[in-house]
Amino acid sequence: MADTKASPEAEESQASPERLKVTIDGVTTEVEPGTLLIEAALKAGKYIPHFCWHPRMKPVAKCRMCLVEVEDQRGLPPACTTPCSNEMVVHTDTPIVQQVQESVLELLLANHPLDCPVCDRGGECPLQDQTMAYGPGESRFVEEKRHYEKPIALSELVLLDRERCILCDRCTRFADEVAGDPLIAFVERGNRTHVLTFPDEPFRSYFSGNTIEACPVGALTAVPYRFKARPWDLEEVESTCAQCAVGCRVKLQSSSSRVLRVLGVDSEEVNQGWLCDKGRFGFEYLHHDDRLTAPMIRIDGELVEASWGEALDAAADGIKRAAKEGPDALGFLGGSRSTTESAYAFSKLARIAGTNNVDAQLGDGLEAAFLVGANPRASIANLDSAAAIVVAGPDLKEELPVLYLRVKQAALKNGVPLIECSPMQTGLSRYAAVSLIHRAGETAQLLSALAGAAQREPTDRPPAGASATDFQRAVEIISEACDKNAVVIAGRTGLATSDGELGASATQLAEAIGGLVLPVAHRANTMGALFAGCAPDLLPGGSRLADGDGGSRAAIEKAWGRAVPSHEGRDASGIVTEAARGNVGALVLMGADLIDDFPDRSLGLEAIGRTGFIVAIDIFMTPTAAAADVVFPAATFGEQSGCVVNIEGRVTRQVAKVAPPGSSQPEWYLLDQLTSRISGKPARWTSHQDVFEEMAAAAPAFAEVTRASIEGAKGTVVRASDTYAPQEIEHPPIATDQYNHRVIAGRKLYGDGQVSGRCTAFRRIDTKAVARLNSRDMSRLGVEDGVAVRLRGARADLEIAVMTDDSVPEGSVSVPFNRIATSSGADEKETGESALHPIRVADLIDSTAAVNEVRIETLESPA
């Protein structure tokens, strides 16, 4: 379906009024030209058994299960590769078809081991089901079956049992066509054909888990799910993944109140059925022993367990005490990891406590007003038919993998020209028509220059060190795509650069070419939290706080029974900078870790150290929570229901499936209790639906969003009340020191943060941090791969192993933000702080600077 609808040719033929009439088993149906027989049959309500055909992949007719009888045609054509023609009459259940189906199944089972009782797929296996439905019942094969070593590990996450494989080509096609990582292939031939990787090169694809779901037998199984349960044990709910801001639809399956498996749901709008491995396998942290189970308060310097009443009283007292010193003595950070309801409660608490110093992003995103109000905003599905795509943001493959798949599909399958503006080559580079590699931190200048060039403003030289020929080529592409719905994807390119004007420049470019903007954020519900008002300049619904006495402000004040503070609030960087100066009396952190998850670690540590009172709402005892005065255990993904908002502004539901550990509560509940203790009014909410209703009443933007409309995979797209209109953009000049290397600090898919570090599945994956350098820089430094060097940054020194990588341009160094950098030559003298917290890349970064540069020094070789 995707095949035919997506391609331009198919669209043309769609336009023609001609429709084909096909009769399948006596049912006549009308289909588009180009529709495959198997799809037409599904439309007519006839199921044709199949193994190799997959609606999202090219048909190959390998399994021969879908053979059907077509009148006036010789032989039995496979329904999965036969396009419909007019007046076609098809039979799917004549004696001859049945006989063929029996034979095909008998042959498929000739080598299939029938270890169904042991197999993880047993009970939900298409081969099992179809053998029961269409099989011969008895096999004539008495010979020994072929044998292979039982399961071999294709990667850290996927096991392969070649005995069970029926060679349908689904996994290999997926790896090649969809994921673009053809790391598995058929090897040998004839009876010995099997699927394998290259020797000693594991199937390290970020999308490897999809092959398990696509496998029609139990040949591919998941390491984390191996023998954990059988299909009939599992209960499931449909929910939205909480690993990144794409918001893929998932099925969450649990048994005995433990989440055991996550499967993808085919949502045309968002993920088309695919998931990244982090989304699929990154749930084990839910049941980790380290989960917080009870509230804690600090007594005599020690955090001790307390009752909820005591902890809530202590937190409310601390906040009230600090609030007496004015709005800037308070700081509220976080909210982007929880549901929109909880974020709304957080934003409300901040405003009730009297401050606008609230931010859901931890200084690692773009302007909140741009993220919620980007205009005209693109949807993910717009990418399929865009005239061009400009990507100016993080490495989508590492941070938003399923969006990467969609962009890749648009470029590769639909031929959409892709322009990549990135400080280094990314996963998308090989599909890009042009890769505008430029100096880190100057992406905004480049976008503005592109916008100018599109409006016939000649540039003598492209800014930011981009190549002139590439720039020229990019200008040609975007000029061609003018007014034809080109999409500009804009996000923070790295954590070592501030990218202050990126949102404005992206909007400028989109305006110049009459295109759309798709802003991207990092954490799962960043958009939801911003829409709920977790930003200093936004109110719930995405209306601008500064716009004064507009309708939305009045509605909110009516709903809250309180005036909304009108001072100019500070964002995360502002709050943390002030806190580091000792000017903040109380910090409330909701799923916000200022030490391990904030771009500027030294500043974060300083802020934590100098703030008098800290409330941490979290699921683990993060280094920040360990320094807090009150700690609340929170329910998280899969444990609390609510809605989330993805990068498009699509509101979908997250559904609770398992019970949270101990007395953990959804954040909105404890925030309501805190609000009530601070405002002196009784707590209002007994369920997340109460929160949702209050939010919908308070924020006009949510008026369209009803509980019924966000049910299901499609959800509802919410639009901010105030759209983003950038002022005149000024790009501050950025000085470059020739002797330094500019830092590119992106996130990797697998890090060792609080959450993914606690997923057993990812532990086996190597997440050691290395600095990547261009080969010319390597030879200039005279170091080889694996050698440790010292990066001298503005904030700290970091010893880290280096690796040659020519995707990093000369003069830059790429370091992974979310991995621990412990080099073999770590200096024992510096243990003071680093013994407590392993050295991270965030130690290097000065978040107040526009760009960060480091000097690279070779270490003296140990004698």
Partner: protein, 215 residues
């Protein structure tokens, strides 16, 4: 008929030998298809037959069985193949002794013995775990529960015969040599490598085509 005719039956029975047996001093012989409490069997080499497939739990109409499988430790496997029954629990208060679990079991790991005396003093004791259910290396059921201590060794010799009543594949003409010892727990398996015309115990090795019964 006189007025005493109504007592005829009563009178007749007064002079008959009573049918009551002096249980528990006298133990009656159980029929071969008696549905007593379950046992989990082993192969003669001591390997457990249960592979943790949970089919028994799936088919159980009373939902009284809880099973969880696990990877066999490669160095010291518990059962043949990849998977073994890591947790096995039966709540005998819920069990209706229908025997569907026995029929569902692909390896004849679970069978029913003729043991029926398992009164308990606490509901929790009625949940039999793998430790209780699994037969010992000698093939004798574990009688750790004090209440079962009175079961005589002879009484155990009677179980196991009934399960062959159901032919694999539902073939009514199926006649298999019962390679099943009358003793509860242990099936007889011919040694590896012996060329034989004997169909093996069906559960002997699920991967081997030789175990199949040809008709």
């Amino acid at each position: 008929m006189g007025k005493f005719s109504g007592f005829a039956v009563t009178l007749r029975h007064m002079f008959r030998k009573p049918v009551t047996t002096q249980y528990p001093k006298e133990v009656r012989e159980k029929p071969v298809r008696f549905h007593g409490r379950h046992v989990l069997n082993r192969y003669p080499d001591g390997m457990e037959k249960c592979i943790g497939c949970e089919l028994c739990a799936a088919v159980c109409p009373a939902k009284c069985i809880y099973v969880r499988g696990k990877d066999n430790p490669p160095g010291n496997p518990v059962s043949p193949g990849e998977r073994y029954g890591y947790v096995y629990e039966i709540n005998l208060l819920r069990c209706i002794f229908c025997g569907l679990c026995v029929e569902a079991c692909p390896t004849t790991a679970i069978t029913m013995s003729n043991m029926f005396e398992f009164s308990v003093t606490d509901r929790n004791q009625a949940i039999f775990t793998k430790e209780h259910l699994l037969v010992g290396e000698d093939g004798k059921p574990n009688r750790k529960l004090g209440v079962e201590a009175d079961v005589t060794a002879d009484a155990l010799e009677e179980a196991g015969g009934w399960m062959r009543a159901t032919a694999p594949g539902g073939n009514a003409n199926f006649k298999e040599e019962v390679l099943w010892s009358p003793e509860a727990g242990v099936g007889t398996r011919l040694p590896e490598g012996v060329a034989d015309n004997h169909p093996r115990d069906i559960g002997a090795d699920t991967r081997s085509p030789e175990g199949r019964v040809e008709q």
